[in-house]
Amino acid sequence: MRIKSWIALTRVSIMDFMQFRLSAFVMLIGNIIYLIVIYNLWKAIYASVDNATINGMSFNDTMIYLVLASAQFTFMEAYLVWMMSRSIQSGKIVLDLLKPVPYSQYLLFGLEGGNICAFVVTFIPTFIIVEIITGGYIHIGINILFYLVAATLGMLINFAIDFFVGTICLYTQSTWGINIMKEVVVLFLSGATVPLAFFPETLRKIVMFFPFHAIYNTPLTFLTKGPELSLAESFIMVGEQAAWAIVLIILGKIFWKLSERVITVNGG
């Protein structure tokens, strides 16, 4: 029964995405411009040092990592906190709560279709372009499979964090500030702005204790360091992600249950 409603919600969100085809195209263009900027910037940066690899990252590694991180952002970031805070402010949330599906699932599957479409329309073309520019630098094999699993788990973790932060909006009624803070913290600590490999040793150790690196760093490692990872290592990385996903989803659920009571809607 549940699965039927999940599929229905996913289908609706896919159709919703199709309405805005042009925006996906513009997103892809934006990604390509970003690719050009990043390519030139890091080429200039690597030109200023003698050795080809820094902290185990070559120019190709860094470029692929950052470009695909940005492409991953376009399909992973569903702006859930914006959505939740807007429906809290407008009172639409009351209608969503009346749906016969738990609110978290309603949100997750209502966004998933868009994520899948954005993956196909923006991530895959960007991936192909990167692969051509670097002359097939990304290893294609079992690691692609691991990437898909890791990206899905990363998306779940991102969703769980968003859901948690969105629930905070019930209390603060500040939306922009909370949103931007979450975005900055997640992007920075997940290694989407600067690859974690460049972080100073102690900072990197601290960051590894947080779930954020599992959103960007773990999936992208499968693409940049694909052939160097053993099967056991790969399973440990994915397992860690799965553990984080479960913990965060449970925490989010508990927090939401406790907070549901404070919803106040002015008028109707």
């Binding site: 805005f20 042009l22 925006s23 513009v26 997103m27 263009i29 934006g30 411009i33 970003y34 050009i36 900027v37 030139n40 910037l41 080429k43 200039a44 940066i45 690597y46 030109a47 200023s48 040092v49 820094i54 902290n55 603060t172 009624q173 500040s174 939306t175 922009w176 500030g177 909370i178 949103n179 931007i180 803070m181 900055v184 913290v185 992007l187 920075f188 702005t193 600067v194 460049f198 972080f199 100073p200």
Partner: protein, 265 residues
Amino acid sequence: MKRLGFYISIYRKIIIQDIKSKMSYRSDFIISMIGMILTDISELAAFYIMFLNFPSVCGWSYHEMLFLYGFSLVALTPLQCLFDNNWQLRHYVYEGDFIKYCFRPINVFFYYISEDFDTKGMGQFFVGMGTIIYAWYKLKLPVTFVNIAALIVALVAASLFMVAIMNIAAASCFFLTNSGYIMVTMNKFRDYAKYPVTIFPIFFRIIFTFIIPIAFIAYFPSLVILRPQEIPFLTWFSPVYGIIFFYISYKIWMFGASKYSGTGS
């Protein structure tokens, strides 16, 4: 001159009302301010980490890059503080509320833009100023009257460019129904303003200089202070070009507004 005084007095009144209404949500103001500052600090941290691993970028040292970044933050403050209402324009146009601006006996663009003063943008200004001062001190740049005056002129000129880009992007909603993604894409360009334009190949240098002139937001004006011995012609040209570009964007915006026909409700 009399008209200018009239507009200034109106502007003051509108802004005071807006700030009053924002101050009634004090916690939102504080959280937004922290969020804004945190964004800029994470960028600074990214610079710091990058330069831990690399000594320079295309001949630009750590402190010179910091100067560029601080400069771009301050130059983007007017956009954030004074022109933020452009982000709402597409909703006003789509839902038909824009009509209310057409019935006032004052300039539509002026009235629309003055309606919102984004207080949290001030956080960006302070971080930017702090970064400029720190980099200035570390680079041992001379503190002279000429230098300070040049900095102020350069900052004012630089601020016009991004405002003009966003004006045009926002005005596109008069011609298309949804301009949100155009604004988001254009807005991304400001992240590239903090890099010296010389890192790009010639084709993109031309685009970033003449078509989407983000090189004028930090790179060209900063050269006056950072590399006074090798100032290119374009740097001197930038205040004039800024005013021209801003005027064009204003004309496009007003042309769009004149095409606006309402939704009939």
